[in-house]
């Protein structure tokens, strides 16, 4: 029963191959707000379930190693998969899956569930924001597939700036908490595991570069559109500032 609960948790806190369900579920939700809520809620639900599943200290060493290996594979697989995604929401959920896989490693290394719930937010919150922003983009341009219209800074400076900052927060850019979580988790691993896990960083850097290339360069070729409201931009900025504070004062000592 405990094992079944743990496996079920892997549907919600993505772990390959069960992560497929998490991704399909997000895709199938019709509304942006619902998707954003799901991005926030599903990992938290998964972690709550995990509290009632197998305890991490009950894992044998081979089991722990297998779990860490699977989690690293999941993270790298989804980060790699995101390289070819040009739809902002798909890109977001793939990178979210990659980020949340790191939570499994932290769990395997014995991090307490309440802490994991906070750590999961370091990826879920920017992902939820990006989901909302991709909805805002789709509402203005007809879709959130990037690279079709050229430089979006020109017609949508606030929306583009919000996307750029949130992407940086999601992809473990130093000073954002996801970076400290990734770094702290890596530090708990034996040396031979650190390098594979940290491969995430160049993959995310590459992914980030591709996204920004589609988002920021070229000449805008679309119709005139209304930018994100100042209030919404301020909200995004406030949330990201909160994450920054969390990153600088919280995450560093949590693990």
């Amino acid at each position: 029963m405990l094992a079944a609960i743990t496996v079920f948790a892997a549907f919600l806190v993505p772990l390959f191959p069960l992560s497929w369900v998490f991704n399909r579920l997000l895709d199938s939700l019709p509304m942006t707000t619902a998707r954003a809520l799901a991005v926030l809620a599903l990992p938290q639900l998964g972690l709550l379930l995990l509290q009632y599943g197998v305890a991490p200290w009950a894992l044998t060493d081979p089991q722990r190693r297998a779990l860490v290996a699977l989690a690293i594979f999941t993270a790298l697989f989804y980060a790699f998969r995101a390289l070819s995604a040009r739809d902002l929401f798909i890109w977001t959920r793939l990178n979210l899956s990659a980020g949340l896989a790191v939570i499994w490693i932290a769990w395997a290394m014995g991090t307490a569930i309440p802490v994991l719930q906070i750590l999961a937010l370091t990826w879920s919150v920017p992902a939820a924001l990006l989901t909302l922003l991709s909805g805002a983009l789709a509402a203005r341009l007809g879709g959130s597939y990037l690279g079709l219209m050229g430089n979006l800074v020109e017609p949508l400076p606030r929306l583009t700036a919000s996307i750029v900052l949130t992407v940086l927060a999601l992809l473990a850019t130093p000073v954002f908490p996801s970076f400290f979580v990734l770094f702290g988790t890596a530090m708990q691993l034996p040396l031979s595991w650190i390098l594979p896990l940290l491969l995430l960083l160049p993959l995310w850097g590459w992914s980030c570069g591709r996204l920004f290339q589609d988002l920021l360069f070229g000449a805008y070729r679309g119709e005139a559109v209304e930018d994100l409201s100042l209030l919404s931009s301020l909200m995004v900025f406030l949330v990201l500032s909160g994450l920054l504070v969390l990153g600088l004062y919280g995450s560093g000592g949590v693990l």
Binding site: R86, I90, G142, G143, Y145, L148, E223
Partner: protein, 1055 residues
């Protein structure tokens, strides 16, 4: 496959034809302002702009919104704009019931809220549009076969045979071969064309671009890693022409499309192509002489790489590798191809993009057919909806019952309206441009003033100054004249003396004349008091440091040791630019006093010079090779060695006997003299030939001085000082520095020309002959060269050591006047560069700031340069004296009364006017399309190979002007209009002169320059050349002072 000579010649001819529209790009060291559409100048302006837009994917006019801002600011002649609309409609003779076309077009240009009303859609038709406007169901597109036929037609238009095959593959498979190809080609070009920037040079460059590249490419790891199989491609043909033809055949491009195919290939990277084109025709260019390359080489390299990349893509993603195979594939599956084209050409509806992306990653035929039908329907609905919204927006901008009238139109009428609006939008930019020019023409006419009649005994000015026609001279002239007894003239900055110049310490010749001319005469700069063998300690240290900096090994060994030394300069330049510059200048030894070798040499003199040089070389060789100093050898011994080296005499020499040199040692030394120190027969002949070019004969000197003086109308009343003021621009860390130098000197600095003309004009023999030809220069008149630094506005006098003693008494007054003018100019100019407006009233502070700007290495805009140029005024200074022309006018002094046969005017029109036109159009196009014609932002520029700049670490060479030169706060600082050239001369006389010069006639007739003739013999009427011929400007005749005579005596001079 072997190609005969005919095939090769055909390819070469095709490349030649294809290269015609590509403007030559001169190296940045001598930036030549040029018309980016130079190759199309034989067409009318509007037609050339349209053609260039297709070739270079660029826009030829400003955005409508920008023109509207100008209209609101009163910079567009509203009536001219209305006339333009009426003229367009008159030409179309179109009528649509209920639609006041005049009002619609006016509303479209001046009030419609978007940039374009006509949507270039694939599925817009009158019936669909009408249904949309009526809110009815859309009529069906037709059956499956009709849709397929329409798709085939669409694909035919999107993928024509002249489009490079890799571009077609990119558009259908999203493969980005084109970008990869550009990157690889840029790297290959950087390797070959490098002019000393790289520490390690590519090997075998002497063999030419294609051959050296081919030798390297076969073992290039970069290409191997990319999976490019070049060996086989390169093995089949030896010559670049053969390679091109062979690849075109391998790609199965129809022969009828080869010409256009080659044009597209070359224009894709027109910066590199333009540089190679320049290089291949510049006979005097050192790097081209040693490492030859032409566009056939460039194209061959491009085509080999393109085919290799195409084959690689074929292997990895199964895309076709020939035009026929590709065509067959899309003809077989038009729906799949259409969807691919939509997605990979970024035309897809955003809402469908991901869906198509998923579908095309696993395209199942049935699914493709279904999705294609749905997508076409969605696309059609989207296009029709957007089009009807735009038309409604336009109708609302028109006002009244226009919207109802629009909704009443039939399908055919709607289609007609859309076509008409589309045609107007295609021509609208040109109409706006003409209307803007009309405003500037009127503004000029209103400011012109009728010259006062010359007094019979005019007052002698304290100094006369000949400035370059450059627009930056205008404020300086105005300020100097305002100070008092100064008279100024405008003349092209090479002072009418085209010369090849060999500067002291430089290894190659510079052409100091308009780029359209090739100088016949060579002038040498010779030091008057140089210690040849000594080098300042600081200079030697600097050489060592720079050698270390450019060495490939130094990062490993020298950074810790000496890296800190470089930071001193870094800190100094950043924090105290002016102080650092002064300190640095003090450390450098001053350039020695020099003289110009200006007089033609007799054969005896030439021979004597060569002997002297060879003797000097032998002395140097003795010191270096045999450690024998000059005091240990006699002239006779040196002469004997020279004779032996030239083969006139046999050894052993006296010196060898005295020094006990063995025959072998002496022979080795003589061989070194011949090979290294070039004391040999071949070199002697070559030197004799070169010396034949040196200097000007007396007759030439008289002719140049007379022509210069008469062309500006200065044939009497000479003052004590006649300043010949060249100009230059000095700034730090600015690859575009030479763009701010003198355009009339081929992007160089005009001081040598000024020195040359001054030297000629001061020569008693020249003055005597001038007097015989009617120009009497008083004995106390001294021509003094000077240079105007346009960044700081400082005027520096030169060759003062030659100044007669009696003039020294007046030098202080002259200097005071010039420095006062400097400060007044700086006060006028600094606020325009973003300094506080209060500086306009503080000349000393403004001048200090100008100095700082010039030495600030972070300054992206040390001066505005030639931005905002709009007028070229060829006439007497009195027309505009005292008028603030805002540094916007090229001022060429000219008095038609001294030019009865129009020869001087011919020279002005073929030289200065063409240079002005190039400068003007370089600015024009750099503003209207800052990326394609301009060079984008300076901030991202990197110097490439010491001859150009690229954006980022690699790109096409950026050829135009950077944004910082022409834009301010995102808006054009340079207001782009064509050059408005005003010539003060009788109409018939000016017409006759223009008729005689085919090039100028074509430029003026084609509308590349707007021509105005101010006819002083027709009551000072201004005749404006329009499309309907000459029209008298309504604001003329000009107001004249009472009592002036219109009949003017024409003086005769034999030129």
């Amino acid at each position: 496959m072997s190609l005969d000579l005919g095939d090769r010649l055909q390819v070469r001819a095709m490349v030649y034809v294809a290269s015609e529209p590509i403007p030559r790009f001169w190296p940045m060291r001598t930036f030549i302002h040029h018309n980016p559409l130079y190759g199309l100048e034989d067409r009318p302006f509007a037609q050339a702009v349209t053609e260039a837009s297709e070739l270079f994917h660029a826009r030829g006019y400003l955005a409508r919104s920008q023109y509207r801002e100008y209209l609101a600011a009163g910079k567009v002649d509203e009536q001219a704009l209305r006339d333009g609309v009426s003229r367009f409609l008159h030409g179309k003779d179109a009528a649509i019931p209920g639609i006041d076309l005049d009002a619609w077009l006016w509303a479209l240009s001046t009030r419609y809220p978007g940039e374009r009303v006509v949507l270039r859609g694939d599925w817009i038709d009158g019936a669909g549009l009408r249904a949309m406007l009526q809110g009815e169901e859309l009529p069906a597109l037709g059956d499956e076969a009709d849709v397929d036929a329409a798709l085939l037609e669409l694909l035919e238009a999107r993928l024509p045979p002249q489009l490079p095959v890799y571009t077609q593959v990119d558009r259908l498979y999203g493969s980005q071969i084109g970008d990869s190809l550009d990157d690889l080609l840029t790297k290959s070009c950087l390797d070959f064309f490098d002019e000393g920037q790289s520490a390690w040079q590519a090997p075998g460059r002497e063999a030419g671009f294609f051959r050296s590249w081919k030798a390297i490419a076969r073992r290039n790891i970069r290409f191997m890693l990319r999976g490019l199989h070049l060996r086989q491609l390169l093995a089949e043909e030896d010559t670049p022409e053969g390679t091109i033809a062979q690849i075109l055949r391998q790609l199965e491009v129809p022969e009828s499309a080869w010409q256009d195919y080659i044009t597209r290939e070359l224009t894709r990277m027109h910066g590199w192509a333009g540089f190679i084109r320049y290089r291949s025709t510049a006979k005097h260019y050192y790097w081209a002489q040693h490492y030859p390359a032409d566009l056939v080489d460039f194209l061959a390299v491009r085509m080999v790489l393109g085919l290799a990349l195409l084959q690689e893509a074929g292997r990895h993603q199964g895309s076709p590798v020939s035009y026929r195979a590709l065509r067959a594939s899309w003809q077989a599956q038009p729906r799949l191809a259409y969807l691919r084209s939509e997605l990979h050409s970024a035309r897809v509806l955003p809402a469908w993009a991901q869906r198509l992306d998923d579908l095309l990653s696993r395209p199942r035929p049935q699914r493709v057919a279904t999705v294609a039908s749905q997508y076409i329907e969605a696309r059609r609905r989207y296009e029709l909806d957007l089009q009807q919204k735009r038309l409604i927006d336009l109708a609302r901008a028109v006002g009244g019952d226009a919207e109802q009238a629009l909704r009443r139109l039939s399908a055919g009428e709607l289609q007609g309206l859309r076509r008409l609006l589309g045609e107007w939008e295609a021509q609208e930019g040109y109409v706006w441009l003409q209307a803007m020019e009309s405003h500037y023409i009127t503004e000029l006419v209103d400011r012109l003033q009728v010259p006062e009649p010359a007094p019979s005994h005019p007052k002698r000015p304290f100094a006369q100054a000949l400035f370059c026609i450059d627009v930056r001279s205008e404020p300086m002239r105005r300020q100097l004249e305002a100070l008092g007894d100064y008279q100024s003239f405008g003349i092209a900055g090479f002072f009418g003396v085209p010369l090849g110049y060999l500067e002291f310490g430089k290894g190659s010749e510079m052409h100091l004349c308009p780029a359209v001319q090739t100088p016949k005469n060579l002038v040498l700069e010779i030091p008057a008091d140089l210690e040849l063998e000594e080098e300042a300690l600081y200079g030697a240290l600097e050489h060592v440091l720079h050698d270390l900096k450019s060495s490939v090994l130094s990062p490993f060994v020298a950074v810790e040791a000496i890296g800190l030394l470089f930071s001193l300069g870094l800190i100094g330049k950043t924090l105290l630019p002016l102080g650092y510059h002064r300190w640095h200048a003090r450390l450098h030894s001053d350039k020695p006093v020099t003289r110009l070798l200006l007089d033609k040499l007799s054969p005896e003199q030439a021979d004597s010079i060569i002997r002297a040089i060879q003797r000097a070389m032998i002395v140097k060789a003795l010191a270096r090779e045999l450690r024998i100093s000059r005091d240990q050898v006699t002239d006779d011994e040196v002469r004997e060695l020279r004779e032996i080296a030239l083969g006139h005499q046999r050894g052993p020499s006296t010196l060898a006997r005295e020094r006990n040199l063995s025959p072998a040692e002496e022979l080795a030394f003589v061989e070194k003299l011949r090979d290294i120190y070039r004391v040999n027969h071949a070199e002697t002949s070559l030197q004799m030939e070169r010396l034949g070019r040196i200097g000007f004969s007396l007759e030439e000197q008289v002719r140049y001085v007379l022509q210069a003086l008469l062309s500006i109308g200065l044939d009497r009343n000479f003052s004590r000082f006649v300043l010949l003021v060249a100009h230059e621009s000095r700034s730090e860390n600015n690859p575009y520095e030479s763009a701010l130098d003198c355009g009339a000197c081929g992007g160089g600095r005009g001081l040598p020309n000024a020195r040359a003309l001054a030297h000629m004009a001061n020569k008693p023999e020249v003055r005597r002959l001038l007097r015989e030809r009617g120009v009497a220069i008083p004995e106390d008149t001294w021509f003094l060269p000077a240079v105007h630094n346009t960044t700081t506005d400082v005027i520096e006098l030169h060759d003062l050591d030659l100044l007669p003693a009696r003039h020294l008494l007046y030098l202080e007054r002259l200097r005071n006047g010039l420095s006062a003018a400097t400060r007044r100019c700086a006060a006028e100019r600094m606020p325009l560069l973003g300094a506080a407006p209060e500086l306009a009233a503080e000349p000393f502070a403004a001048a200090a700031l100008a100095q700082r700007q010039a030495h600030d290495w972070s300054q992206v805009r040390p001066e505005w340069g030639l931005a905002r140029n709009v007028y070229a005024i060829v006439g007497r200074r009195a027309l505009t004296e005292g008028v603030d022309l805002d540094a916007r006018a090229f001022l060429q002094s000219y008095d038609y009364r001294l030019d009865p046969r129009g020869r001087l005017l011919e020279n002005i029109l073929t030289g200065p006017l063409v240079v002005g036109e190039w400068i003007n159009l370089e600015h024009y196009f750099s503003v209207v399309d800052t990326e394609s014609y301009g060079s984008g932002s300076k901030v991202y520029h990197n110097v490439a190979g010491r001859f150009g700049v690229m954006t980022g670490n690699q790109s096409d060479l950026r050829t135009g002007l950077p944004i910082q030169t022409v834009m301010k706060d995102g808006k054009p600082y340079h207001e782009p209009v064509r050059l408005i050239a005003l010539v003060e001369a009788p109409l018939a006389f000016a017409q006759r002169t223009v008729e005689r010069i085919a090039k100028v006639k074509s430029l003026i007739g084609g509308g590349w320059v707007r021509l105005l003739i101010l006819d002083p013999e027709d009551d000072y009427r201004v005749h404006v050349l329009t499309e309907d011929g000459f029209v008298v400007h309504p604001h003329s005749p000009l107001q004249r002072a009472a009592g002036e005579q219109t009949s003017i005596r024409v003086l005769e001079h034999s030129t």
